[in-house]
Amino acid sequence: MAVRLGNQTIKTEKPITISSTASIVGTKESEGPLSPYFDVHMEDAEWGEDSWEKCESKMQREAAKLAVQKSGYTSDDIDIIFAGDLLNQCISSGFSARELRIPFYGLYGACSTMIEGISLAAAIIDGGGADKALAVASSHFCTAERQYRNPLEYGGQRTPTAQWTVTGAGAAVLKCGMESGDGPYITHITTGKVVDFGITDTNNMGGAMAPAACDTLLAHFADTGRKPEDYDLILTGDLGKVGREVLINLLETEDYDMRNNYNDTGCMMFDFDKQDVHAGGSGCGCVAATFCGYVYKMLKERKLNRVLIVGTGALLSPTSSFQGESVPGIAHAIAISNEL
């Protein structure tokens, strides 16, 4: 059974292996620097479906299927699936799971959902409630844009702090045990609190979410006794260029030096010089695809051995913004290691 460390952290007792991952991305992401690490590159925004919502659902479904297939199991072997996305009522996840026929929990953690899903999957496996679990998350530029912002053909201008929702999906199969003995394993889960410092600019998600990421990282370091330098890489989800700098500065005032081994998947997904993405990538798919593509492969190749992934989310809706509410942030962290 899991052990509680400090205020917010769970240390897993059983070996929780990430046995496979799968990632699917859209066209713009396929032109970005991480492109070679993704499994499936869609050729357009529809992928043969007649709406973007259906496309996003298909992305989740195909990512889930591919991850299960790569793990060598069948979908019957998977005990439970934790899935989420950005759309109202989590339709991408629900409609994708409709065809997967695996016991299903739908999650909403905004852009932190992938890490929320992996956290819960790991916790339920560690508690003995499941042997194999699947975590899936997705986002799609077009579905997010029309839900949160303007119609796609509307002629508006983006501000420099605005971020670009990643069209991408990631899926990870987690299992109990270490038969192959090669990891990587999930060792710690730090659950974040909702933190809101009163930022109301919905075009500055990085600034709104950075305090939540800071709060969770501080809790993680305090609970585990670890320091930034204990990790080969610390990754936040989608703070983007603006939030990344803010987080480094916030942690510096607490005497944590993040300059050497910290990055943000929103800053990695696109090429800032060639791609017009303003402050960087965002969305569930940003951290999901980057983790399931790039980070997992790096771990497998032992180019990285110990990483801390912090999924970040902005818990707003168009309704809350119109009512003048500020943007609450959430961040969940998982520590992954090749050794136990």
Binding site: N150, P151, Y154, I199, G207, C214
Partner: protein, 161 residues
Amino acid sequence: MPGGNNQNKDNSGYKKDYQDYIEKTSPKSPLFKDMIMAFLFGGAICVIGQAFMNLYKDVLNMDAENAKIAVSVTMVFIGALLTGLDIYPKIAKYAGAGTIVPITGFANSVASPAMEFKREGLVLGMSAKMFVVAGPVLVYGITSSVVVGFIYWLYKILIGG
């Protein structure tokens, strides 16, 4: 992060500092460049409007009032068509207010949600959502006209007319 693990404490002062810090450090829109682009594109669209105005007045011999209406209709048509062809948002990315303020921008804000919500049906999608962006312009515009009309009516009665 002061107040980081002390969320129970009142840290509204720190929050204010943080908001100021974000306000100060976040990159700003390039105002001067945006102004130049808005001027050039906005001006150019008006010149196109003027060309139609001259065409309707001088060549087709319309009277001034009808020519003005015809220009509006023409510009709305062009704005809607360029929206359908996916050209308007590409220009707008650079032109900013230069493509928002002219009446072509009004057409864009009507046509773009209509296109977008077609997938939710021709009645409850496309048509119901058609004025989701441009609706306020009509509401405030027509309301202002009624207020102006009422004041003018009062003025005529009270002061003479």
